[in-house]
């Protein structure tokens, strides 16, 4: 740790708590001008190159709302079709596309992105950080998501939209029953949210753990950030399952490898396990941020600190943990043995406890405080009503026999809309009204907001409450029509009327936002609802004027002068000492300043990378495989362009940031933020690989008969030994390269990296050849399919390493890497080291498992 701390005893740990402010006043005049200059937002078209979280966050939220509206319009069309029995408004084909795009769009292109988008916008402000740690990564994720989402919805215009339902169960969605490109469009839409969700999770985790303001130890972390931290952790362990599932499905569709085809040893249930292992945490990935927003707004609106703060944090952690033990409750009717069902039933009920803790914490806080009635308060009350009802029906469907009736009926449609719209959409609209003043210093209309609330609340309940009954009366979900003599007619008509009322409420909010954007908003004071957390300190594009020293959970309540002090520049980092965008990186638990991170500014690389990544996947989707190479190359080149000027090394001496802290502008090794991000990424990678191993073993338990029983059918054991030897040599080369870098021997670095790559490549190719020469075919059986998938998985990592090692070598030749500037090298080393380990594991599995259990 290269922390240099100057200052007398007491000035460090105690910091500026004793009214000695970190930076002496008054500040020199040019300081603010420098800050404004380096953080200036590009004008006009240049805005597309901006990376600042204020801008990206708002565009991100805007895009998510656009997709919300589009998916909502599809819902209205479906409700119109179902208003009458045997209606001919929409034919079956259109309806099936509509409900698939509605579900997929709402879950993947609205709900997950919007909660991350709100995080991108709010988290740095709540932490007093100047930006998120990887601004260009967020911007890239946004653009890839935006273009990808647009092309997903555009598939409707070409009658090419997916029609397999949002959870796309094979075999219906595999090549035999869904030829053509419709299912591929679903995989495209999912692909983008996978990229942007993981990019977002990395940002959020590293941002919350490493860019907190001095003094904000973890126990003083705002509860919303806790929710986002846990949500990001859940993304890391949940998304890999769906990444793997979609990869398997796409491979099955293209190469006919039978992962999910029963006749050849596959199993449709493998998809369900993988999908719901992701899909259930997904629900909480959407809900936890909503709960976090509520836990921020309730204390502000009740003018009282959140009661049971620590219990609520525990509840959030508990929800995150429990949510991984619930996935089978989406599969209660698949014939899984009753004993397993009991376990998942109990776990599904247990998750009611953390939700209950939060609900009662909010109610108790409202009870102890004096409530101010704003639009946000109304939306929060509506949220409580809807969410509690949805939670109770959730307990009902956790009861296995009840679920045997309710499952896949309109009862479930009602339940899921109660928890998702209740748990996330209502808090989001409350948040929209609550935090709007931080956007442009004006208020949305309280009058229109109340109209919108009552229309949405009423419309919502009129739409979805009757669906509980429709479902119990036997109406299955996903039917484009129904007979008129089953008692469903009136209920459906009521639901349709309610849906249009709900839509009218949303329209009023949109109109209110438009009205505000055209300058009709009423000016707000700096902190109109008297919030207690840092996002209510007035700020510019550079975020806060100085980064506050934090002493409690509600810093603005505890020190009423804090906002003025911060604006005067009396706290940390009041300027831009190295004359560029930068923020303070702090230690993960105690939040002590560690170094000054230079932040990348506006650039076109990430924008082009996002655009061409989307184009690449679009080309793949429509089957233009050769042409797709071109956008892929442009995207890769753009990424390299955006990265090239980063990892600057220690190009400035340590800087004074206030409070007697003098900190370096560069650190390397495990305290570097980029190292953290890489470790998070490898957790994602490792979880995906673990899911692949799960798939291997799962398929074996289903169809042991397709596994070779005769060891002679396997590659000789020498292939295993040779492969392991090559991997060991790769690890050795990597270690040698790292040592050489420490001694500044560039030749050793280059040779070591090159050898590492070649040994890894030889191991991967050798394993592929070993399997091919036995005559094994991927399309023949689930065994062949999953064995080659292990090979292909390693092959994909070789492609990644080709880029990373090539990039590192290029920097070595340009003299941009040396013993005290090795962050780029370290990242490559982490990935290469991981690939060695993964390769060894894959080899052992592929060669030993059939011998031991075949």
């Amino acid at each position: 740790m290269t922390l240099q701390h100057e200052g007398g005893p007491g000035s460090g740990h105690g910091g500026p708590a004793h009214r000695t402010l970190p930076s002496p006043l008054p500040r020199p005049e040019e300081e603010l001008r420098t800050l404004q200059r380096v953080w200036r937002m590009p004008r006009g078209l240049g805005l597309l190159s901006e990376v600042n979280n204020n801008v990206i966050g708002v565009m991100y939220i805007g895009a998510a709302l656009l997709f919300f509206v589009l998916a909502g319009l599809l819902a209205l069309a479906m409700r119109a079709q179902l208003a009458f029995p045997e209606s001919a408004l929409l034919d079956h084909d259109t309806y099936n596309q509509f409900f698939t795009v509605h579900g997929t769009g709402m879950m993947f292109l609205f709900a997950v992105p919007v909660v991350e988008a709100i995080g991108v916008y709010l988290i740095p402000a709540m932490l007093g950080a100047r930006d998120l740690p990887f601004p260009r990564l967020s911007a890239f994720a946004f653009w890839a998501y935006f273009f990808g989402g647009l092309s997903f919805f555009a598939s409707l215009l070409f009658d090419a939209a997916p029609d397999g339902g949002w959870f796309m169960y094979p075999p219906l969605t595999s090549y035999e029953h869904s030829p053509g490109i419709r299912a591929d469009f679903w995989l495209l839409g999912i692909g983008f949210i996978e990229i942007s969700a993981i990019a977002g999770a990395i940002e959020i985790i590293v941002g919350i753990l490493r860019t907190r303001p001095p003094g904000m130890t973890l126990d003083k972390l705002p509860i919303y950030c806790w929710a986002m931290l846990i949500m990001a952790g859940m993304i890391i362990f949940a998304f890999p399952a769906v990444i793997l599932a979609t990869a398997l499905l796409e491979v099955e569709r293209v190469f006919h490898w039978p992962f999910f085809i029963a006749e050849r040893g596959g199993d449709p249930l493998l998809w369900q396990h993988l999908f719901w292992f992701f899909g259930h945490p997904e629900v909480y990935i959407i809900f936890l941020p909503g709960a976090g927003l509520v836990s921020m707004m309730v204390p502000t609106l009740a003018r009282y600190p959140l009661i049971g703060h620590n219990l609520v944090v525990l509840a959030l952690v508990g929800t995150g943990v429990f949510s991984f033990g619930l996935w089978v409750h989406h599969m209660f009717t698949t014939g899984i043995p009753p004993l397993s069902l009991s376990f998942f039933s109990a776990a599904s009920m247990a998750v009611a406890v953390p939700s209950g803790i939060q609900v009662f914490a909010w109610i108790a806080t409202l009870g102890k405080g004096r409530v101010q009635w704003t639009v946000a308060t109304w939306f929060l009350m509506g949220f409580l009503f809807i969410f509690v009802l949805g939670g109770l029906t959730g307990v009902m469907v956790a009861v296995v026999p009840f679920d045997w009736q309710a499952h896949d009926s309109y009862f479930i449609v009602a339940h899921l809309h109660y928890v998702l719209i209740g748990g996330m959409v209502f808090p989001m609209f409350a948040a929209l009204y609550h935090w709007w003043p931080t956007l442009n210093g004006t208020l949305l209309s309280e009058r229109l907001g109340r109209w919108a609330f009552w229309l949405m609340f009423g419309g919502f309940n009129v739409t979805f409450f009757p669906m509980h009954i429709t479902g119990l009366l036997g109406m299955p979900r996903r039917v484009y029509t129904y007979p008129g003599d089953l008692g469903w007619n009136l209920l459906n008509m009521v639901s349709t009327v309610g849906a249009f009322v709900l839509a009218l409420g949303v329209l009023i909010v949109l109109a209110d936002m438009a009205r505000n954007a055209f300058g009709r908003g009423q000016p707000a004071s700096d902190n109109p609802w008297n919030g207690g957390t840092l996002e209510w300190i007035p700020n510019g594009n550079y975020a806060v004027r100085s980064i506050p020293y934090v002493t409690g959970l509600y810093p603005l309540w505890e020190n009423p002068n804090l906002s003025r002090e911060v604006q005067a520049g009396a706290h940390f980092l009041p300027g831009a000492p190295t004359d560029r965008r930068e923020t303070i990186v702090t230690s993960p638990i105690e939040s002590k300043p560690q170094y000054l991170m230079p932040m990348p500014g506006p650039h076109w690389g990430h924008f082009l990378a996002g655009l061409f990544t989307a184009l690449h996947f679009l080309c793949l989707t429509v089957g233009w495989y050769l042409i797709s190479i071109l956008p892929a190359l442009i995207a890769i080149a753009s990424v390299i362009w955006w990265l090239w000027d980063l990892d600057t090394g220690e190009d400035h001496p340590p800087q004074e940031v206030g409070g007697g802290w003098r900190i370096p502008v560069y650190v390397q090794g495990p305290s570097n933020h980029s190292w953290w991000a890489m470790v998070v990424l490898l957790l994602v990678d490792g979880t995906a690989f673990a899911c692949l191993i799960f798939s291997y073993i799962f398929l074996w338990t289903v169809s042991p008969d397709v596994w070779p029983s005769d060891p002679a059918a396997l590659p000789g054991i020498g292939w295993l030994g040779g492969g392991l030897l090559l991997l060991a040599l790769a690890a050795l080369s990597l270690w040698w390269a790292s040592r050489s870098l420490g001694a500044d021997r560039q030749a050793g670095v280059r040779l070591g990296l090159l050898l590492c790559f070649l040994f890894l490549l030889a191991a991967a190719v050798g394993e592929g050849y070993a399997q091919i020469q036995t005559g094994l075919k991927g399309a023949e059986s689930a065994y062949g399919a999953v064995t080659y998938m292990l090979v292909a998985w390693q092959g994909f990592h070789m492609a990644v390493l080709l880029l990373m090692i090539g990039y590192t070598l290029a920097r070595s030749f340009r003299g941009l890497i040396h013993a005290r500037r090795r962050v780029t090298f370290d990242n490559t080393m982490l990935m290469a080291g991981y690939t060695v380990g993964q390769g060894a594991f894959a080899l052992l599995l592929a060669h030993l498992f059939p011998r031991l259990f075949g």
């Binding site: 219906l172 406890v353 803790i357 409202l366 509690v388 026999p401 009736q405």
Partner: protein, 343 residues
């Protein structure tokens, strides 16, 4: 043979007032009945589940009203008059749910056990296989070996009251789900799996079921019927199944019989005792006795059947049956009449 009449009863939900819908669970009391309703049970399974459902609905409504009342009080009351703080979180958020949910779980386990053991020694085994978008049905005599040919039918099950029945459900193409809400909960039909659903019917009648797992284009038109007979009626029905179908004497019906073969219907369909033995499509041996047509999609009579034969692709686009619209009207009617005569 006396079959229960085609159900003409209409469900009576219309009087449920809109306000009632919004006022909690009480509206459910207003008695919804229907041939496809979990609220109107006609079998042991559905009845047991409904009883537990009522515990859930009433318990849920009480908790909901209490929490809402507390929330309203919380926002209206002055802070110092609102008692307790963390006590609410611990009592309401932890103690209460742990106690109630544990009790509920015990109740649930007992119920689940009763339901899965209802047909430990089944009096009848029926194999139902889901196809896009119809149901293949095979009856197995109790104790019959696998070599004994099963009695085949389609899109309608006939079962007795009071005797435990075991359904072995599977799928031929994609995932389907077997659901007759009035009799029991649903069970998925998954390619490569055979799932077991045990049920016990209690009230004779005709009940409607429907595929509950989305299965492609015509998922909405994949329904079926379950005809529940008194045991002795059932035995008579079963005994009558062994009579082979022969070429009828009646000239019109005979013309229909011939048309069946000249049009090539036998390349997909089977009719017991005739040269038509294909298993690609639904077995038509008792077509005339079935309540529904095209997997419960339409009412079944000579007129609708003729319409279906002539324009199956128009009525249920994407299904495997081509529209046979080249027959002259008379032949078409004769064919439909002959099929309707098969009972």
């Amino acid at each position: 043979m006396a079959l229960p009449p085609w159900p003409t009863r209409r469900t009576s939900l219309a009087p449920v007032p809109l306000l009632g819908l919004l006022s909690g669970a009480g509206f459910l009391l207003s008695g919804c009945e229907g041939a496809q309703s979990a609220l109107d049970p006609a079998g042991f399974n559905a009845r047991e589940i409904l009883f537990t459902s009522w515990i859930l609905f009433i318990g849920g409504a009480v908790i909901f009203l209490f929490v809402m009342a507390l929330a309203v009080w919380a926002v209206l009351a002055k802070g110092d008059r609102f008692p307790g703080a963390r006590a609410w979180v611990i009592g309401g958020g932890i103690l209460f749910p742990v106690v109630t949910l544990t009790a509920l779980l015990l109740h649930e386990f007992a119920l689940a056990r009763r339901l899965v053991t209802v047909a430990e020694t089944p009096a009848l085994t029926i194999e139902v296989t889901g196809y896009m978008w119809w149901w293949d049905v095979r009856y197995r005599r109790p104790g019959a070996g696998p070599e004994e040919p099963a009695l085949r039918s389609a899109n309608e099950l006939v079962i007795p009251t009071g005797r435990p029945v075991e359904l072995l459900v599977g799928a031929a193409d994609v995932i389907h789900s077997f659901w007759v809400p009035s009799l029991a909960g649903k069970m998925d039909m998954i390619p490569g799996h055979v799932n077991r659903l045990a049920l016990l019917a209690e009230k004779p009648g005709l009940y409607r079921g429907q595929c509950a797992e989305y299965c492609g284009a015509q998922h909405a038109l994949m329904a079926f019927h379950v005809r529940v007979l008194e045991p002795e009626e059932f035995d008579a029905w079963l005994a009558a199944r062994n009579r082979p179908v022969t070429r009828p004497e009646d000239p019109v019906l005979a013309r229909g019989y011939d048309a069946f073969f000249t049009q090539g219907c036998q390349s997909c369909h089977a009719v017991r005792g005739t040269p038509a033995v294909s298993t690609l499509g639904p077995d038509l041996s008792d077509m005339g006795a079935r309540a529904g047509l095209a997997a419960g999609s339409f009412e079944n009579n000579v007129g609708t059947l003729a319409g279906w034969i002539a324009s199956a692709q128009h009525l249920k686009p994407g299904n495997r049956m081509p529209s046979f619209n080249v027959m002259d009207g008379e032949t078409l009617r004769a064919l439909a009449a002959w099929l309707e005569s098969l009972k």
